[in-house]
Amino acid sequence: MRAWQSRRVAEADAEWDAGGLGCGELVLELRFRLAALRPGQRLRLVALDPGAPADIPAWCRMIGHTLVSTQHPVYLIQRKED
């Protein structure tokens, strides 16, 4: 088990291991999963894709969600207010 696999963020309301998903497949599914949360709730994402460190912050900036923390491949995203 790698170090990131054993880390858990206590304040996450949901978790999603996206595995190797990347690009459009990753962010579209991410959109669905954030939409299922209530405003202010947090998703702990594990994304192994090498594009994720660039894509996830850009996606959060466009959508308006808050990227609380990032330590690839683990990202903590807080859903924006409606």
Partner: protein, 120 residues
Amino acid sequence: MASKFCVSLTHAKDNTDKATVGFVVANAAVGSGKETLVFLSVEGVRLAQKGFADGIHEEGFAPLRELMDNFAKAGGTIYVCSPCFKKRKLDENNLVAGASIVGGAKLVEFLSDGSPCVSY
């Protein structure tokens, strides 16, 4: 930042790599909150027919049918070039979800207020 995004796709089974990546990028756009249009023209119009994309599965990507279904589910729009469609004698009563047959004016209207567009 523009609120719209267009992907122009001119391939289907003649280039399944381009057809697949076109919808992957379209899903990135719609997944990023953009009002997203896929414009199918030339051979790409064949993708607008139900069942045509079945079996197209590029290595390293989700099956094309799944990418297209997710695009429609997320509210994406597909415009199908009318003359390209008619030239190939396709069935306008057998369109995939989110698709409609349009003339060039609809594409021009969508792009005219500054929408970026990428082509495959």
